[in-house]
Subunit: 609 residues, 2 copies
Amino acid sequence: MPVPVVPHSEVDVLIIGAGPAGLMCANALANAKVNVRVIDKRAARVAAGQADGLSPRTIEVFQSYGIAERLLKESVQVHQAAFYNPSPSGGIELTSRTQDVVAPSARYPFECALHQGAIQAIFIDSMKPLGVEVEWSTLPTSIEICKDEHVLMDPASHPVRVVLQKLNAPEGQLQEEIVHAKYVVGADGAHSWVRKQFDITMDGEQSDFIWGVMDMVPDTDFPDVRNKCLMHSNNGSILLVPREQDRLRVYVQLENKDIIDPATGRVDKDRMGPDEMLEVARKSFSPYKISPTTGFLWWTLYIIGQRVASQFSVKNRVLIVGDACHTHSPKAGQGMNAGVSDAHNLAWKIALVVRGWADLSLLSTYESERRKFALDLIVFDKMYSTLFSGKPLSQENSHGVAPEHFLEIFKQFGGFTSGIGVHYDPSVATLDKNQELASGVVIGERFPPYKFIRAADAWPFEIQDLLPADFRFKLLVFTGDFSEPLQQARVESMVATMQKPESFLNRYATSSKGAENSRFDIITISKGRKEGFNFLQFPMLLRSHWSKVFIDDIDVTGSFGGKGYSYYGVGDEGAIVAVRPDGYVGAIAPLDHVEDLDAYFTSFMTAAV
Amino acid sequence: MPVPVVPHSEVDVLIIGAGPAGLMCANALANAKVNVRVIDKRAARVAAGQADGLSPRTIEVFQSYGIAERLLKESVQVHQAAFYNPSPSGGIELTSRTQDVVAPSARYPFECALHQGAIQAIFIDSMKPLGVEVEWSTLPTSIEICKDEHVLMDPASHPVRVVLQKLNAPEGQLQEEIVHAKYVVGADGAHSWVRKQFDITMDGEQSDFIWGVMDMVPDTDFPDVRNKCLMHSNNGSILLVPREQDRLRVYVQLENKDIIDPATGRVDKDRMGPDEMLEVARKSFSPYKISPTTGFLWWTLYIIGQRVASQFSVKNRVLIVGDACHTHSPKAGQGMNAGVSDAHNLAWKIALVVRGWADLSLLSTYESERRKFALDLIVFDKMYSTLFSGKPLSQENSHGVAPEHFLEIFKQFGGFTSGIGVHYDPSVATLDKNQELASGVVIGERFPPYKFIRAADAWPFEIQDLLPADFRFKLLVFTGDFSEPLQQARVESMVATMQKPESFLNRYATSSKGAENSRFDIITISKGRKEGFNFLQFPMLLRSHWSKVFIDDIDVTGSFGGKGYSYYGVGDEGAIVAVRPDGYVGAIAPLDHVEDLDAYFTSFMTAAV
């Protein structure tokens, strides 16, 4: 009897793990028409519980992939945070309510809460028409990277060899497959198998704070059960997050004595179930009452720890994302958001490299950008979760957490926790130059939302909707006032420069004819008044279609708009802003020195073959 | 061989005609779970052309049925109108641009343009999951109403007998069916067969103005091809309406001599095709050029006439809607909107009568409300289309239309053309009383949009989204400031009155237990500040669910809201506003005389059997 031959296959990108980070990456690459597979050892997506909060920036990211609409339909929006503290008369009392999201430029000034399974379903349903489905019950059993540096540097090579085992293969059929991938993304969670195969260490430490978490539909006389509620009581802290379908997530701080086995000194999960957690919560809740109406929908226990992987990449061929490379407390609602943002940062870089539009070295910016974020995150998380788990200030505890201090920290770090303020340092992917030409548009940060009026029809558009995650660079040409002869001359000279053969626009044209250049999308934003504006005045490069020209004017109802130049800090002389495919500002150039963009794109782009 | 027996069937409502008005009615009744069938003699929905403009009020109506989202995705929005007039140097020139929609309270301050077939598809796809599909190729051949007044007054009777013929029945199968309907809706267009069967006359006249219309994707140097463009030239008038997918609709005024057969004096359609129309248009367009890039997508000719049916109803058992009961020019974009609004007005009345919640006499308000609107419409249309078809003012034509006069009329009638200002006169469906308690909420007009903050979670909601077309009356309880002891006492007394057995709330309770009252939805709108508000303070009647309480406060970002009481003209003493299922204000009552609502509902409601 012949030995069955294990099948071999090739794929551009293999994603290991179909949690939110892995699915975000898979969906993004599917959108980019990259040949991608995504496997998961589990048999299906999670049914309940797990992560549940999406930050304002993550909602913007979802919008850029066209999946925010469903998210907004299925989730609840958290607009307000309530702070409770010990009352002089015993029990707790409302100290203050404030805006949940403290990030003035957020397009969506709220968080979305929805259980992780529903979020996974959004990605899964989005990918399906693009031909990508999760291969469940599929376990990787070995992974190796080719050691030959020539092979590793060849963009056409498939240097990563992964053996897969199908856990549910029918009897008599082969259970193994050997996949040769150009890139592997490890999105396999806090206990990442991928990370361990490459002996990547997690640096950091575990705290002493133990928390329980449970989902329920509550019956309660507590008035803030539909706000995010941050509660310091003399019996421990509680965090409430409202959820879809009248549900409530309750995080409860536990006493170590309740959960540590005195004999071993280790956490003993048998000592604490949801009923015991509820008892703890009820003590903190006093004088209010709370009960689950239909039992506990999900629950778990965890010890807060803050760790970051020592590296996020192995030779730019294996890259890890999400919980696989950073763990922290769920208190600031960062877990799923950080993972999704990792994947969003990585996907366009992989897509451009796979397409042959960018050099392999662009992938190094994934680690430099996202590992720095993760390090910042755990510094913040240590401080924040210590404050949250700390005893409240009282006569007995004069070193306790003062309500006003906690509120202050909550507001101060709103830019960070909302994801809006995330800043990437200079690299080949961000050119630190000409910042003064657009002071409100920070290089290395996401392009902020604002509404402009489309010149041809006065239809107001949110500029972020002109920056979809379609894997193209957007060139926002702020022309200034084209009716000024000097400014018109400047714009026309810029167009002439950009049309020279040596300009990036022609050097990196996707098609050799240069007619259809799918790497760049030019959007014109002019000063002017809609009542007399003629968009046909612009050179053709600035109006490839009538829909490409916008004016910074107030809308027809007189309600908004008209201050975009000033909001973005762009002066009368104009500027060009290159926005990366992930919506972050890559470079800024003056109209009369558009060569700065040549330098930017040359640092990582490759000419079409 | 036995003679085959023609099958008989019963249905609550038979709709004849699956154009926009008929489909609107069918979809609404399907939503209301009314047993409804809709037939059309055509084989399928229209593929191109026909009506294409939806007014701001129609978009609100779509939103109330949950179908605006798709409309907004597929259509183009028309925000701006451009006015062109003869230039002193020959040809035309831009005179002014203005907001297309002049209706300050419009929730959607624009028109949507989309071809009729796509609009029909929205209704068809919305009804399908509710089990209602259009029966195409089905022709009514006779219709009779029972003459017995006792039968006619019996809500359980099926007094309308319609014989249907199936045009595409397979060979050998029966082609006839006899339908016994409680109600028949004639939505079968300007040449309505239903109308003719009952000898209902169309009163009015035909004008001398002949227009051509064509759809194309234009190649042009005309800068206003994406705005609605109203053009008076010395060669005739032109109306441009931008459309989906770069399309353009061009209405061209024609000279009678080009199209009237001199021998007969009648319109001869063979004399004028799209090429000839384009030639006429080009003369008016000078100095601009226009050509279709891919030919003509659709075209037709029409003579403007304004007529209204002498009656809209036969014994409240056969009712006609849309073009079947009024025809006018398409210039003001009213055709499809008027038909859709007829159906929207009629559907909830039929639904309530069929459910046994309302007396048959409620149906009389369909004719009183919508026929008056149709009469107003043709008065307006005569004036407007005469101005539009008129020669421009010039030295040769001192009685011509002055640009500023036309613009003035355009703005002055914005409330009417937008559909926002439509006003229904007092009847059993609108109680003309207590208007002074809510001066910004006009009895007989649609409830205007405004944003309120949900008390439990500070989530801002558009109040129109709390008024879906779900066939329930909404009772908006403006409580005033509940923390004022006097006002609290007033609210509690009102609640006590409403909970008395003789109150409409109990008399017209759907369930005898009164616990789940599906005829009424109570929404509480309080004064107060979100920072300290406790929605649990209200009596249970005013908070059947935590999501039912709103406050008139500014949103968490400080951007909007907080002036709702003043916008609606409601004072500190509060008020109750009863909003009809179609979103129109039915009645207003003071908190301390809620019996006014008893009078209102008693005038048409029937108690549950």
